[in-house]
């Protein structure tokens, strides 16, 4: 797969504040790429630079084969973090307007708007003024507007915020459908569950720097497997801490600790021999959430030191 986005050493300062600091990444065509990071990490600034909405102070970027991202703006669909619609326009015209800005005729835009809103269960919305729509509906209208011209690259900045669970699922399905159509999707979010389900690859940004680049599985693999153990006969804390690996913690009668390199069997033998027995045992791979917290926490610690 060829790369749709290639960025090298992108940096941006606003006065004394360094929003993005030397970020490099590449995004394969037809993939869903997550840009993750805590609030204020620099995700939106990075996306704006990639699309050419703002110019970087340092570094280069190439978008859909062009060094001048604004030349290919008509091939991009963009849902910004801060939603923007004209309150006095109808949902249909709002979508057609966004399509027209990208070269679609108004008539075709209106036609497609009706069809796509219907598909999303918003068949009653096309003629409604934006000011009459609920926040979630308005967000879906804006999303349809971003996709109305069948873009090659779709940039979604925090698309799930403000949506109810039903619409979140609809949106996830929509993102997958766009990927299946052949579009490349860049998804910025700080909700790890969505990223874990959707993203093929991701970058984790914190303090303006990229601290991870790889697949979801690679991110999860940064942490050891986690063990949850519930003894049949609980001992006193000192004895249990002596038997269990370093860093074991107790919560609601359950001990949690990282899986040792030699597996769980030697530990279980020791626990059985000490008459604690096993009432429950689970070995789990950490989720993206834990990996994210680990990476971001490490980044914060590095910065502090």
């Amino acid at each position: 797969m060829s790369d749709v986005v290639v960025a090298t050493g992108l940096g941006k300062r606003f006065g004394d504040y360094r929003a993005v600091d030397g970020v490099s990444l590449s995004i394969a065509r037809g993939s869903i790429f997550g840009v993750l990071g805590p609030n204020g990490a620099g995700k939106t600034t990075l996306l704006r630079m990639l699309m050419g909405v703002i110019d970087p102070d340092t570094g280069t970027r190439s978008l859909l084969g062009s060094d001048r991202p604004r030349d290919v703006a008509h091939l991009i669909g963009y849902l910004p973090e801060e939603r923007g619609l004209y309150p006095s326009m109808t949902a249909r015209d709002s979508i057609a307007f966004m399509g027209a800005l990208r070269g679609l005729s108004w008539a075709e835009g209106r036609k497609r708007a009706d069809v796509r809103l219907e598909t999303l269960g918003l068949g009653h919305a096309p003629g409604m003024k934006v000011r009459k729509l609920s926040k979630g509906m308005a967000q879906m209208v804006q999303l349809v507007g971003a996709l109305i011209h069948d873009p090659e690259l779709i940039v979604l900045d925090e698309p799930f915020s403000g949506l109810d669970p039903v619409n979140q699922e609809r949106l996830e399905a929509l993102v997958r459908a766009e990927r299946d159509r052949g579009a490349t999707i860049i998804l910025s979010t700080h909700v790890m569950a969505h990223a874990q389900r959707l993203c093929d690859e991701l970058a984790i940004i914190a303090g303006g720097r990229r601290h991870f680049l790889g697949s979801v599985e690679q991110a999860r693999a940064l942490l050891p497997m986690a063990v949850r153990y519930r003894p049949r006969v609980d001992g006193d804390a000192a004895e249990m801490e002596r038997l269990l690996p370093d860093g074991a913690t107790r919560q609601d009668g359950e001990w949690r600790f990282a899986l040792a390199d030699d597996g769980v069997e030697p530990l279980l033998s020791a626990l059985v021999a000490a008459h604690h027995g096993v009432e429950g045992l689970a070995i789990e791979r950490p989720g993206l959430h834990e990996a994210f917290v680990h990476i971001v926490g490490k980044a914060a610690a590095e910065k502090a030191s």
Partner: protein, 406 residues
């Protein structure tokens, strides 16, 4: 091409979003308030005009030997029609200039009954025709005495405006054009920035910035508002023009005569040029408002930033007004060359100067400045909308950092 296409998309949206709303009707009819005040003033003026009707008169300055014949003919003719009072005197026509400036004098006859010269307020006026009939009657009586059957009188008609106060009236017309253009360009040019404030507030501008060239967005906003402005102007020109034509036809001759002024360049050219100068002034001012307004984020900031522009424009208006009142002076030249006052001053020039070529030069000169202003304003607009940092934009104190932390 993409710039033009985006400009048209933005222009279409802006135009329809303004025009197809009930509030536009309020905007369109807002001048009614001004007209209402004018009507109140007009009522007073009408009462004055009615009062003046009692002293209306027509004048005949004839050779002394025809004095009695004219008086007799007037007595005879007055039985069948009722023209204003006739004042007959013998002598030369040296008083015509002073009489022409008196609005109560509807028509003046000079010369002999056989070759009368008739000066009237409006062509083919009743007063003028009455004096011609009077001369014809006197001339026929003279021929009858001589048993001559040839044609009696050969009257030559002129309008009084051509001999009297035309120059001053044209200057007044020029000042009126300056005032109207200034008012319209300031009111409508300032509107462009209001829409931008809304878009910055609801973040639509970011979507536009990501989707289309900002030059296109800028031009689109300018063109959209220009369309609204032209619609506004066309509506009122048609309404007021039609109204004036109707009212003019209903006016007493002496009052109607006061409106018989023609700009030196002629009405068709004057209206066409005034329209072009309005476009020029609007583009110059609207682009500055857009460029500077893009730096603001709230209506309050826009008002603060608009104030110096408004003061500057008032200064240009004063300069152009001075030029309208004193054509041909150094101030007039300065006002005509200074790009910001040039549209107003040149419109005023059209009222007093019949030459076309200065307008062609002025329009070319203004076009250059429009291009320069738009180019600079686009840069300012881009910096303001995107805060692109390297774009060299500026910001209100303490604003940039707060705005740019995503």
């Amino acid at each position: 091409m993409r710039v033009l296409r985006s400009a048209l998309v933005v222009a279409r949206r802006d135009f329809t979003s303004i025009v197809l709303t009930p509030t536009f009707l309020l905007f369109l009819l807002a001048p009614l308030m001004m007209i209402g005040f004018a009507a109140i003033g007009g009522t007073g003026a009408g009462q004055l005009a009615q009062h003046a009707g009692a002293s209306e008169r027509i004048i005949a300055i004839v050779p002394s030997e025809q004095l009695r014949a004219f008086a007799a003919a007037d007595t005879q003719l007055r039985r069948v029609s009722g023209p204003p009072r006739l004042v007959i005197s013998a002598g030369q026509d040296t008083r015509i200039g002073a009489l022409g400036r008196d609005p109560n004098v509807l028509a003046i006859l000079t010369g002999s009954a056989e070759r009368p010269r008739i000066l009237e307020r409006a062509p083919n006026s009743y007063a003028g025709r009455y004096l011609a009939t009077l001369a014809e009657t006197v001339a026929r009586q003279g021929l009858a005495r001589a048993a001559d059957t040839h044609a009696a009188s050969n009257a030559r008609f002129e309008t009084i405006a051509s001999i009297g106060t035309a120059r001053a009236a044209q200057s007044g017309l020029g000042y009126g054009a300056v005032f109207l253009l200034f008012l319209l360009s300031l009111l409508l040019g300032g509107q462009t920035v209001g829409m931008l404030a809304e878009e910055k507030g609801n973040k639509v501008i970011e979507i536009m910035a990501a989707a289309a060239p900002l030059e296109g967005v800028f031009l689109g906003k300018l063109i959209g508002m220009l369309g609204v402005a032209l619609l506004f102007v066309t509506f009122w020109v048609c309404l007021i023009g039609g109204g004036l034509l109707f009212v003019h036809a209903q006016m007493p001759e002496n009052v109607a005569g006061l409106f018989n002024l023609t700009p030196a360049i002629g009405w068709p050219w004057f209206i066409a040029l005034a329209t072009l100068y309005f476009l020029s002034a609007f583009l110059l001012l609207g682009s500055v408002f857009l460029g500077v307004g893009a730096q603001a984020n709230t209506v309050r900031e826009i008002q603060m930033l608009s104030l110096p522009i408004t003061f500057f424009q008032v200064g240009m208006f004063s300069l152009a007004s001075a030029a309208a009142n004193a054509p041909g002076t150094i101030w007039a030249s300065v006002a005509q060359w200074l790009p910001w006052s040039s549209p107003f001053a040149m419109a005023a020039r059209g009222a007093t100067d019949a030459r076309i070529w200065p307008h062609i030069v002025a329009l070319g000169w203004q076009a250059i400045w429009i291009a320069i202003t738009i180019a600079l304003s686009v840069r300012l607009f881009r910096a303001g909308v995107l805060r692109s940092g390297s774009g060299g934009g500026w910001s209100l104190p303490g604003r940039r950092r707060a705005n740019n932390h995503p």
